[in-house]
Amino acid sequence: MRRVAIVTSTRMNTDPELSGRATRRRRPLRARLRRANPAAGLASLVWLLIVVVPVYVMVNASLMPQGEALGGKLLEPAAHATFANYQLVLRSGFFHLLLNNVIVTVATIAIVLVLCVPLAFAVVRARGARALLVFRVFLLGLAIPAPVIIVPLYVMVSKFGLYDSLWAIILPTAAFAMPVTLLVLVGTMRDISEELYESMAIEGASPARMLVSLVIPLSKGGISTVSVFAGLAAWNGLIFPLILTQSPQNQVLTTGLWNLSSEYGVDVPATLAALTLSAIPMLVLYLAARRALISGVMGVGGK
């Protein structure tokens, strides 16, 4: 648990890197060769290629006219590059999908944070066995995979009158993001030292005051990590929108892409253009917030 917080602070990550760079210059060549690991290096290069080729083909073929793509030479740079496919996708209501996706993602992150920050605070600071019990309930929730409970959820959502609305996507997505969120936040909040709480208590601060002026500022790293996780789950989820919504106006990116791809059929470049467009927002965000995301995932493996 505590490792999560330790790894999340990026300072820890850069330290060995910096010192590594310094020692490498001093180390003689022979020792460097002995430390090198050609098998793993080769494996990562091969895997890099495996990652890059499909992504390259996606972008490359999305620029081809349909006739050129049908020739099957997807690896060669597009000879007659065109943005016609992109125009087609944009005309097919892509911005509406994007807007819905943004709404779903922002609402999910908001609900998760509003519910989980006080929850984690209570689990960490409240006394007694019941706090542990609450925590256990959520741990159990980790083992419930979303696809498996989709049937009862569908029946329930219909009974609540939420079927075919964006709420039908947002609420279950938020609920399923909660266990991981709680684990990460509890890990972060446990690292806040007892002395800080005590000194605030001596000044007579209420729990709400402590949460706002002590716990939240000191858990920023954890909060941004869980926002990324919850956001990714909401942005990329298929099963909830697929089953719990129906009408075109409530389509999100995933269901929209699925629809577009069947609508375009053999017009593979158009599908690939839609895929490329759908990937751009997350890719941009990823390049900007790579550190937070990567160190967050790395913390998962903490021993």
Binding site: N236, I243, S278, G299
Partner: protein, 316 residues
Amino acid sequence: MTLAAPRPAPARAPRRRGPGRRAARVGRPRLTWALPGLLFFMLFAVVPMLYSLYLSFCGNWGGIGSAHLVGAVDWQRLVDDSTIRQATRLTIELTVLSWLFQTPIALLIGVWAAGRQRHRAVLSAVFFIPLVLSSTAISLLFKALLDPNFGLAHAIGPWIGFSDGNILGSPNGALAMLVFVGGWQFMPFHTLIYQGGARQVPQMLYQAAEIDGAGRVAQFFHITLPQLRHTITTSSVLMVVGSLTSFETVFLLTAGGPGSATTTLSFAMYQNAFADFNYGYASALGTGLVVLSTLLSLLMVRFTGFGSMRSAREGM
């Protein structure tokens, strides 16, 4: 995010007298702070789970009228159903193959990436792209790439024994592609987990081993692997639960075909619920799947000694 039960509360210093003791009681939130989150989670995750169990005893209910308990007919049918037996075998095959495919590579690359290479930042920026793409986008991308008529499959197929490039058209090819696409998507995630774990192995151990004259391979097997055993458990549990219940890739890439060759349990559940409208039977399937995946993860946790919370640093 370890999967084992955490310590109940941070170990507290012995009670002190004076202001400290008062402070320990003042300013603690009541557990009611946890209530909104707990209720929300119960409503949308725990109640559906229990409801699923209930529906699984409601026989052939299709959502019209209200469900009534009729007994274990769905469970009886589940045990007798030969298509479910095939789906179970396939799901287990898929899970085992995915583990065998992903773990060694993720371990190797993750440990390597924990070291100090040049250009690692650039490399990892590209390497982890699949992490942010949706399963939907990835599945649709590979569906296009594997199209026998104009996809890459046409060029690559002959190399790997599919002269017509119709990889998804053969049962084994389709299964292999599910394993591959799953790996393509989740390898970066597991690589990162291992990278994080490997960074925490004390350098001291390697220095000691080097003095003893242990080579690179010996160091990997005698230091890295044992030190990473909790990380391996975490990663494997996530991987196994993920592949057991993976739905999107099957749904979009193979649609369970050719025939029913890649109909996994979660896809069979989807078909039963939303193509045949038999919610009772689908719920029995879903509940069975939760039981199976929970049992498997508990087994893995027990088997690897992860649950006992022994520190990997023991004896240091």
